[in-house]
Amino acid sequence: MTHQPLDPEPRAPVSRTLKLALKYGFILFWSAFVVFPFLWALTTSFKDANGVTNGATWLPWLQYQPSTQGWASLFGGPGGTNIVRPYLNSIWVTLGASAVSITLGTLAAYGLSRFTFRFLFFRNADITFFFISQRIMPPIVLAIPFFLMLRALGLLDSLAGLILVYVALLMPIAVWVMVDFFNSIPRGLDEMAWMDGCDPVTTFFRVILPNAVPGLVVAGMFCVIFGWNDFFFAFTLTFTQTQLLPVSIVALNSSVTPWWALSASALVSIAPLVLLAFVVERFLSKGGLAGAVR
C-alpha cells in the first residue's frame, strides 16, 4: 500500500541546492575553524628559527625547511623541557581525582535523588545547589587558602595535595550529572528492589548502579576533561617536585621561547583527550546519553 506523500508541493530545486550549499558550507567553515590551530601548530612544530621569522608559512619543503628540533625538545632537547614526567603526573592526578569525585559524588547524588534531607532550613534542592555552586568560585579565590592549607598539611608540591584539591573541584560536576541521571530512573525500580529484600545500600549497588552506566560515563568524561585541563591550581600549588602538563608547557611561553618547541609540546599534550572525543562520539551515537541528559 503506497501512501500519498504528506509534503506540500515539492520545493523548487534551486532553493534545495541553495540550502544544501549553505548547510555544507557552514559545516566546512566551522571544520576549518576547528582544525586551523592544530594545523598551524603542526606546521610550526617542524620549523626552526628561520622558518618562524620569515613570516607565516604552511607548507614544509615548499615554503620552509622542516626540522625536528621541536620534537626533540620534548625529551629535554634545547629550548624545551622533558614532558614525560609531567605527562604521567597529569594522568595520575586526573584519574585519581576523577575516581574519588565520581565515587563520592555518585553516592551523594543518589541520596539527594531518592531521599529527603533536612538540615535547618536546607532541603534537597538547596544541598544540590550547594554542591554545584562550588564551581562558581574562581580558582584565584581559592588559590591562596588552598596554598596555606596544603602547606599546613605538608602536601604542597605533591600529587596527593593536588588530588585533594581537584576532588573539591570535580565532585560538583559528578553530583550535577548524576542527580539529573538518577532522577530519570523511576522510583518504582528502587521500590521493587526493596520489596525483593534489598535495603537501600544493596539496592544502590545491585540494582541502580548497573543501570547507571551512561550517567557514569558522562560524569567521568566531564571530570577527566576538567581535571586534565586545569592550569591554575597546578600553577599555584606545585613548583619543582611535581609538575603537571599544562604548567610545564605554559612555562615555555615567553617571547624568547622557540615556537617549535611550544607547538610540539602543545600537540602532544592535547592528544589524549582528542582520543576521548572519539570515545564520546561513539557513546553518543549509540544513544548512550539519552538517559544521562535530562
Binding site: P139, I144, M149, S285
Partner: protein
C-alpha cells in the same frame, strides 16, 4: 527506617565541606585584614578593604568586561552550538566524522591552546593576518589593540567551548521522541515552524542547564587572558578574575584581593541564581 540515606550523602558532603570550608572561611576572615607585603599576617582592618573596593573603578570595569564577555560568548556559543547540532543531527554525509571533529576543541587544555593562539594572533609572524590581507582587508593589530584583543579572547573562548553546547544539545536532539515531528508534518509545518514549536521547546530544559553551567565556567575565565594578553593591552581584557589575580598574587595584597573575591562570589551567586530562575521561567514554561 531510612537511616541508611545518610550513608549516601555524608561522605561526599563532608569531603566537600572539609576541603572548601577552610578556604572559604579563611578568605572571609582575610578580607577583613590588611595582609600585604609589608604587613603579613591576620591583622584587623575592619571594612577598609570593602570601602576601597567600592571606589575601585578598575574592579568594576573588570566586572563589567567580564559580564560582557561571559554573556556574549555564551550566547554565541549557544546559537552556534545549536546550529551545529542541528546540522549534524541527521541527513549529513560523514556525520560521525564531523561530530567527532566538532567535539575536539572542548577536550583540549585551554591554557595550552591559548599558547598556540598567541602565536596565531601574532601580527607579523602569525598566519591570521596574511589570510585577512589575502581577502583584501587590512591586517588586524590583534593583540596590541584594546578592542581587537577583546575580540581575540572571545574568539578563543568561542572556539574552545562551543563544543560543550554542541554536545549537550546534540545529546538532547538524539533523545527527542519522533511523534511530535510526525504531528508537525501532518499539520503542514515547515522547517522553521517545526523548529520553534517542536525542537526548541523539547530542548528547553537542557538549554537552561547548559547555559547556566557555561555562564558559571565562563565567568571564571583566566587562563586565556593570562597567556594571551596578560589583561592588556592596558586593561582592555582584564576580567574580574585577572584583576583579583593581579592584586592577590602579583601585588601580594592578600587582604584586598580576598575582599574582591568575596564580593565577586556574592555578586556571582546572586546574578546566576536570578538568571537561572529567569531562564527557567521563560524557556521552560513560556508565558501563554
Amino acid at each position: 527506617m531510612y537511616r541508611q540515606k545518610y550513608l549516601f550523602l555524608t561522605p561526599g558532603l563532608i569531603a566537600l565541606v572539609a576541603i572548601i570550608l577552610f578556604p572559604l572561611l579563611f578568605t572571609i576572615r582575610v578580607s577583613f585584614s590588611g595582609w600585604d607585603v609589608y604587613n603579613p599576617g591576620l591583622n584587623w582592618k575592619g571594612g577598609q578593604n570593602f570601602s576601597r573596593l567600592l571606589a575601585d573603578s578598575r574592579y568594576w570595569a573588570a566586572l563589567g568586561r567580564l559580564s560582557v564577555m561571559a554573556v556574549g560568548t555564551v550566547l554565541i556559543q549557544y546559537v552556534l552550538g545549536f546550529a551545529l547540532a542541528l546540522l549534524v543531527w541527521r541527513d549529513v554525509i560523514a556525520r560521525r566524522f564531523f561530530r567527532v571533529l566538532f567535539l575536539v576543541p572542548m577536550m583540549t587544555t585551554p591554557v595550552i591552546m591559548s599558547v598556540i593562539w598567541r602565536t596565531i594572533f601574532h601580527e607579523s609572524l602569525g598566519p591570521l593576518n596574511p589570510i585577512i590581507r589575502g581577502l583584501g582587508l587590512p591586517g588586524v593589530p590583534w593583540l596590541s589593540d584594546p578592542v581587537w584583543a577583546f575580540v581575540a579572547v572571545m574568539l578563543v573562548e568561542i572556539w574552545q567551548w562551543t563544543p560543550f553546547m554542541f554536545l549537550l544539545l546534540l545529546a538532547g536532539l538524539l533523545s527527542l521522541p519522533s511523534e511530535p515531528y510526525l504531528a508537525a508534518r501532518i499539520d503542514g509545518a515547515g522547517p522553521v515552524r517545526t523548529f520553534f514549536s517542536v525542537t526548541f521547546p523539547g530542548l528547553a530544559a537542557i538549554s537552561v542547564g547548559a547555559i547556566v553551567i557555561r555562564l558559571i565556567e565562563a565567568s571564571k575565565i583566566l587562563d586565556t587572558v593570562y597567556v594571551m594578553t596578560s589583561g592588556g593591552p592596558g586593561e582592555s581584557t582584564e576580567t574580574a578574575s585577572y584583576y583579583i589575580y593581579i592584586r592577590g598574587l602579583r601585588d601580594f595584597q592578600i587582604g584586598y584581593s580576598a575582599a574582591l573575591s568575596i564580593v565577586y562570589l556574592v555578586i556571582m551567586i546572586v546574578a546566576l541564581t536570578v538568571i537561572a530562575k529567569l531562564l527557567v521561567r521563560f524557556l521552560v514554561r513560556p508565558a501563554p
